[in-house]
């Protein structure tokens, strides 16, 4: 089984230096593209690879790039969304700390393909170690001639900067990230206009997830067909899957796209810890819907997860066991989302704290008749299109499925006037 993204990462996790990276063929794809391919050929190759965005939405990467107007004069930007803050997700960190040059090469290729002249890596504030690794890698890449003016004498120039975020979940949202990068408040924007037309400082900008970008060098080096062959489904490539919760070996692994939940959970994570029984799974981080033990054979890819009633999201599973209160879990998640609301639109700013308090009341034994109706109606009222961005609708996914899957647990909280898990 091929693991292009992680195969060279050292067991101790120390970052690969530029020399080591080059030793494994690193920057070969860049050389190949810059000296032998046109930007549109690079775009074509990525399109053909069926690479879909690894940040959670799964938008085809090649298509995203193609919306950047080729003729636009003035600066254009490519940005790595390295603001990994989805609860349960730690996959980008693994790549950034272990093999930062792979990300850089992907970002430079994305820049070349879209005609960008500036690149930013927008990094989560808490990822101090990643920041060190990336800063050093950017420095090495400049010295190695992979960044700056006239890269590899191809005539293509790109400047790259690391930007460490001030630390808000919402800044991982594409347009809020752009606002934050401009030095404004980290609030999302409405689309259209799309960032590819008016993104950063009013200029075209492409924002790709760090894992997405890390795939690009391999696609260019070894071709779209090879990349598609890595996968067990129509989406190309491998995927970094992670598992957290009461399993024997929590962690992250690079596996073919479309690997089943069972395989990830049982073969990689070693199954549940002794004395714990699997109750449900959030397959793609905090803002996805619960899947149940009956879904263990669902392949973890975008379409299959959707069909099962949830989303692939970041591909990092959170496991709920039988000794943890589902209401408490949802309360915890809702507290996170309420805290991370940017405060721009009413439903999210005012609705989420209300839900958080109701869930807190249930946990504290102060639940009342009608509380579940309020929770339930909010899962619709805070749905897509009702709010300014996807934060609140995302927050509603675990709540709405919990109300379905664990209805009895919710009702017991009210009936018994206490949390049965206490």
């Amino acid at each position: 089984m091929e693991r292009p993204l992680t195969e060279h990462i050292r067991p101790d996790g120390a970052p690969l230096s530029i020399a080591e990276y080059e030793g494994f063929g690193g920057y070969g794809a860049l050389r190949k593209a810059l000296l032998g391919m046109t930007p549109s050929q690079v775009q074509q190759e990525v399109k053909a690879s069926n690479l879909r965005g690894r940040g959670g939405a799964g938008f085809p990467t090649g298509a995203k790039w193609s919306f950047v107007p080729a003729e636009a004069a003035g600066p254009k930007y490519v940005i790595s969304n390295s603001d990994e803050m989805e609860p349960g997700a730690f996959k980008d960190r693994l790549l950034m700390e272990g093999n930062p040059h792979q990300l850089l090469e992907g970002l430079i290729l994305a820049g070349y393909a879209t005609g960008a002249d500036r690149a930013y890596i927008f990094l989560r504030w808490e990822y101090r170690r990643s920041a060190d690794c990336i800063a050093r890698a950017i420095d090495e890449a400049y010295r190695g001639g992979y960044l700056g003016r006239d890269i590899l004498r191809s005539g293509y120039s790109l400047e790259m900067r690391l930007h460490v975020s001030a630390g808000r979940y919402i800044c991982g949202e594409e347009t809020a990230l752009l606002n934050a990068l401009e030095g404004r408040r980290g609030t999302p924007r409405s689309k259209p206009p799309f960032p590819q037309l008016s993104g950063l400082w009013g200029r075209p900008a492409v924002v790709n997830n760090a894992e997405t970008l890390s795939n690009i060098p391999h696609i260019i080096a070894r071709g779209a067909e090879w990349f598609r062959g890595l996968s067990r489904c129509a989406d190309g490539g491998t995927k970094l899957y992670g598992v957290s919760g009461r399993v024997k070996r929590p962690g992250a692994w690079e596996l073919p796209m479309g690997t089943t939940i069972r395989e990830i959970l049982e073969e990689r994570a070693g199954g549940m810890k002794e004395g714990f029984v699997l109750r449900a799974i959030l397959p793609g981080g905090a803002s996805t819907e619960f899947l149940l033990p009956e879904h263990l054979d669902v392949p973890m890819d975008f379409d299959s997860c959707m069909k099962a009633g949830s989303r692939l999201g970041t591909g990092t599973l959170i496991v709920l066991d039988d000794r943890t209160c589902p209401v408490g879990m949802v309360h915890n998640l809702t507290r996170f989302f309420a805290r991370e609301s940017c405060g721009w639109c009413t439903p999210c700013r005012e609705g989420l704290p209300w839900l958080e308090r109701i869930l807190g009341s249930l946990e504290a034994g102060d639940g009342r008749d009608g509380d579940l109706d309020i929770l339930e109606s909010h899962t619709r009222l805070l749905g897509p299109g009702h709010t300014y961005c996807a934060l609140a609708p995302g927050a509603m996914e675990p709540l709405q499925s919990a109300l379905k899957c664990f209805r009895e647990d919710f009702e017991r909280h009210i009936r018994e006037g206490t949390c049965p898990w206490r």
């Binding site: 808000r168 408040r185 980290g186 924007r189 409405s190 259209p192 206009p193 037309l197 008016s198 400082w201 009013g202 309420a338 805290r339 991370e340 609301s341 940017c342 405060g343 721009w344 639109c345 009413t346 439903p347 700013r349 005012e350 609705g351 704290p353 209300w354 308090r357 009608g370 309020i374 109606s377 009222l381 299109g385 009702h386 709010t387 300014y388």
Partner: protein, 917 residues
């Protein structure tokens, strides 16, 4: 036009709107908060949700925000859809979760958009059972009260203050449910437009702090359409009165003038109306000398003493001095009383010439004056020798919008609709259209200007002539022009030529006729190049242009006239001459006047010297016509009857006419008009003054009736007001009669919406806040139904034969041992009447002299230490201010704050040594 379908019925709407604007224009009650017709869409509050259908077969539809959805042809929506209604009610429920429900003690209560919208959605019961969020409030200075707990986070305040008005000391802080709107630290808001927060805020976070000091509910206020008297822009206002005191000023929408916004000088400068300086009864002074005390007198006694004066002196011995802050009617009445030869405008020769020259250029030249709306649509602006933010603040706010005009096209290319404000600002970034600010010192528009230049008046004029020359070979060259000046001129010329609607702004700030002429020549040169430029001159007072049209003689000639004929009676109406000319000249006039009669509403250095003082009505108690800088005549109406002995200026003059007729032998002076009401004066004026003929169509006569009745100044639900005098007499007093307008001092009267110029309050059923104006406009954000009030008096003659003048000053030459003292203007402080309001006074600087230490000789002056300034025969001790923007050879004196000096003037500066101080 586009056809949209609302609940399956077709409607025609204008192109390029969003659905919210279209629905409101069509009269639908669709609630909203973050959207504002001038600030456009933000999409934040989610209140204006409607159901959007894909096509006529789609019955499911989806919720969209109407403010963020174009009203494109064929769009199908439902406002009435149950899911959309439920969602809108939910938004109110969310907002109400933390709103304090303190309406009974909230100043906004009764005119609160949040109240209106809550009622509109039908949300009535509370389910949220947790503690409410609370905030700490800030002291934001004398004008705006802060009560953050009431906030519903619509973001309008910050979008107005920062994005629209360019303020920097106000922002949104924190995130999630703790979002906070205020300053980084307590302190007075810096923007002179901060008062608009009171009207922009949909609830009671920002309320009028002065109003709080003498608060009355909206339904207890008597209101009338008025015009601001604190600068030449002529913003439309709605003053509110209760119990004989003026309580507040609100914006009155006029799509061509001020739109939705006022400046704080206009909003908070009304203190003089209630002030201690008010003259409320006649005063007599007998004898001579400075120590003589004034004695209050009855009207009859005052008239008697006047009649003695009028008869003893005869008509030739009476001269009249009018005022640019008095109405056209009062000035005209004075002119009629004394006769044209004895009528003086109240301005010194320099100002008089400036206004005269402006009138000449605007009537004989080829360029047209813009309304403020048109100024806002200009795509290149050249300001020559004016300090717009301090002298015509509302115009500066318009210019802040005009610099966005040009770059707006770029947003259009990205298919971003102009109402999608957040996206437009993202696309535009800091790109701005052309604005060049050439003045005597730094200007608050400099930061948004493509270029700024500071120079002495002569050099400013030369810059203007050089621009004209760069535009047209027909214009004369400017000899000895510096390279820097020449390249600046060429750059300005290029930008003006490239623009679709270039605007040239100049005015009287620099006191230079050459500057005014140069601006006119720039406009002329643009016309020659086939452009259609706009030309606007800023003047000092609310009726500068109007009084200019009456062609009075300058003050210097009044002094000559008084000095050449012994014991001349001088009648000064609504003017403080000490502010018009240098002290020696004014002293000569006072010394030589046989008798000095002053009719004014407020005590001044002039009324202090008068033998007879007559209590005149302020704008709040008298109807009158004012002509703004655009040449727009506007009728202002009294909001309350003049109490006691107070009368309109023209009424005192009419009394004098009657006295004179009565005292004259039969037949002599018998033809004097017998004016009974304002319509009488106005119709005499229209007959006699050619330039004012068109005023015939300005205002409805006092006899105008709507459905057979007068238009009430008081709102219909005026509840407790009828009991105000019940402790004296349970019978309700008869309303005071108003002979000067079709408005009544009553809540009785016509119930339908009056013609736009007579709208006493912006109200519609279900709409009690300022947003009610939606219902009075022909298109939301557009003109009032029936047309925006006011009549333009000036029209350009077209390309005349007069051509260019080759007459231009040489380059400014600094003088050895002398400084050219130039006026520095202050929005709070430079204007006479607003300065009498405590809040405005607290923001006004104390008198000072400003020097630029870049000049070697100025280094002896130390900031804060005293300096001696000698000019026009007087010496002043003033603290030194450092102003690094002043041109070499000049020093700055705050305009209007140092009485007795007429600026610009040459003077001598000396530092006070430590020994002396």
């Amino acid at each position: 036009m586009a056809t949209i379908f609302i609940d399956d019925r077709p409607y025609e709407v204008d192109d390029g709107q969003n659905l919210l604007q279209a629905c409101l224009t069509l009269g639908f009650d669709l609630p909203y908060f973050c959207w504002h017709p001038a600030l456009h869409s933000a999409g934040a509050c989610r209140q204006c949700a409607v159901k959007l259908f894909h096509d006529e077969k789609d019955r499911r539809g989806r919720i969209v925000m109407s403010c963020m959805t174009p009203a494109a042809d064929g769009t199908r929506i439902s406002v009435d859809d149950p899911e959309a209604r439920a969602f809108r009610a939910s938004v109110i429920e969310w907002l109400m979760a933390n709103h304090p429900h303190d309406c009974p003690v909230c100043d906004e209560g009764g005119e609160c958009h949040l109240q209106d919208m809550t009622v509109m959605t039908g949300h009535v019961s509370r389910r949220y059972r947790y503690p409410k969020r609370t905030h700490v409030n800030q002291d934001l200075g004398p004008f705006v009260n802060h009560e953050m707990n009431r906030c519903i986070q619509c973001y309008r305040c910050v979008r107005f203050y920062r994005d629209y008005a360019g303020g920097r000391d106000f922002h949104v802080f924190a995130a999630k449910r703790d979002v906070y709107f205020g300053r980084h630290a307590e302190g007075p808001l810096e923007s002179e437009f901060a008062g608009n927060l009171v009207e922009v805020c949909p609830t009671g976070v920002f309320t009028d702090k002065l109003f709080k000091g003498h608060y009355a509910r909206k339904w207890d206020l008597q209101t009338a359409p008025s015009v601001c008297v604190h600068c030449a822009v002529g913003c439309n206002t709605i003053p509110g009165e209760r119990d004989g005191t003026l309580r507040r000023i609100r914006n009155r929408y006029n799509g061509e003038v001020n739109g939705y916004f006022l400046c704080d000088r206009g909003r908070y400068g009304y203190g003089f109306v209630n002030g201690e300086g008010r003259i409320r009864q006649p005063l007599l002074r007998e004898g001579r000398g400075a120590s003589r005390a004034a004695r209050p007198a009855g009207v009859q006694e005052a008239l008697l003493s006047l009649s003695a004066l009028l008869q003893a002196d005869g008509p030739r011995r009476l001269i009249g001095i009018g005022s640019p802050r008095a109405s056209l009617e009062t000035n005209f009445a004075l002119r009629t009383l004394v006769g044209g030869e004895q009528f003086f405008s109240g301005l010194a020769r320099r100002e008089q010439r400036l206004v005269g020259l402006i009138l000449e250029i605007l009537t004989n030249g080829p360029a047209r004056t813009p309304s403020l709306r048109e100024a806002e649509e200009a795509d290149a602006v050249f300001i020559l020798g004016e300090d717009v933010p301090n002298r015509a603040p509302r115009l500066a706010l318009a210019l802040r919008q005009s610099v966005r005009r040009g770059p707006m096209a770029a947003a259009g290319k990205l298919h971003i609709p102009s109402w999608d404000d957040i996206a437009v600002r993202e696309a535009l970034q800091q790109n701005r259209g052309f604005l060049f600010a050439a003045g005597m010192a730094a200007c608050r528009l400099d930061p948004i200007a493509a270029g700024a230049l500071r120079a002495a008046p002569d050099d400013l004029a030369r810059l203007g002539f050089a621009v004209a020359r760069a535009l047209s070979a027909g214009a004369p060259p400017v000899p000895g022009l510096s390279g820097a000046m020449e390249s600046a001129a060429k750059g300005i010329a290029r930008a003006l030529l490239a623009a679709g609607r270039p605007l040239v702004i100049s005015g009287t700030a620099s006191g230079s006729e050459d500057v005014i002429r140069a601006a006119g020549q720039v406009a002329r040169a643009l016309c020659e190049s086939g452009r259609d430029p706009l030309l606007l001159y800023v003047m000092d007072e609310c009726n500068s242009l109007g009084s200019g049209l009456l062609e009075g003689r300058p003050l210097e000639e009044a002094v000559d006239a008084v000095e050449s004929a012994a014991s001349t009676t001088v009648l000064v109406v609504e003017n403080d001459l000490a502010r018009r000319a240098d002290a020696p000249l004014v002293e000569r006039l006072f010394a030589a006047a046989g008798r000095l009669v002053v009719a004014d509403h407020t005590a001044s250095a002039t009324s202090e010297r008068a033998d007879v003082v007559l209590p005149a009505a302020s704008f709040a108690e008298a109807a009158g016509t004012y002509v703004n800088l655009e040449g727009r005549a506007q009728r202002a109406y009294a909001v309350m009857p003049p109490g006691g002995d107070v009368r309109s200026g023209w009424r005192w003059i009419a009394e004098m006419m009657r006295l004179r007729v009565a005292g004259s032998p039969a037949g002599q002076n018998g033809a004097a008009p017998d004016w009974r009401d304002l319509d009488d004066v106005a119709s005499s004026m229209i007959d006699e003054v050619r330039a004012l003929k068109v005023l015939r169509f300005l205002a409805r006569p006092a006899s105008f009736r709507l459905t057979g009745r007068k238009i009430p100044r008081q709102p219909h639900r005026s509840s407790g007001r009828t009991a105000v005098t019940a402790h004296r007499d349970v019978r309700e007093p008869r309303p005071v009669d108003d002979p000067d307008s079709p408005l009544a001092y009553s809540m009785e009267g016509a119930g339908t919406t009056p013609p736009p110029a007579l709208i006493c309050r912006e109200w519609a059923p279900g709409w009690n806040s300022a947003q009610a104006v939606n219902r009075l406009q022909s298109r939301v954000g557009g003109p009032l139904r029936g047309g925006d009030p006011g009549l333009r008096l000036l029209a350009p003659a077209g390309m005349d034969e007069s051509g260019y003048t080759g007459d231009m000053p040489g380059a400014f030459e600094p003088r050895q041992g002398q400084w050219l003292l130039v006026p520095l203007w202050h929005v709070f402080g430079s204007e006479e009447l607003s300065r009498l309001a405590a809040g405005v006074a607290s923001l006004s600087p104390a008198p000072y002299v400003a020097v630029n230490p870049a000049e070697e000789r100025n280094r002896v002056f130390v900031e804060g230490q005293m300096a001696c300034v000698a000019a026009q025969g007087r010496t002043y001790r003033l603290p030194v201010r450092i102003d690094r923007s002043l041109p070499a050879g000049t020093a700055g004196i705050p305009a209007g704050l140092v009485p007795g000096v007429s600026l610009p003037a040459w003077g001598v500066l000396e530092p006070r040594t430590a020994k002396e101080t």
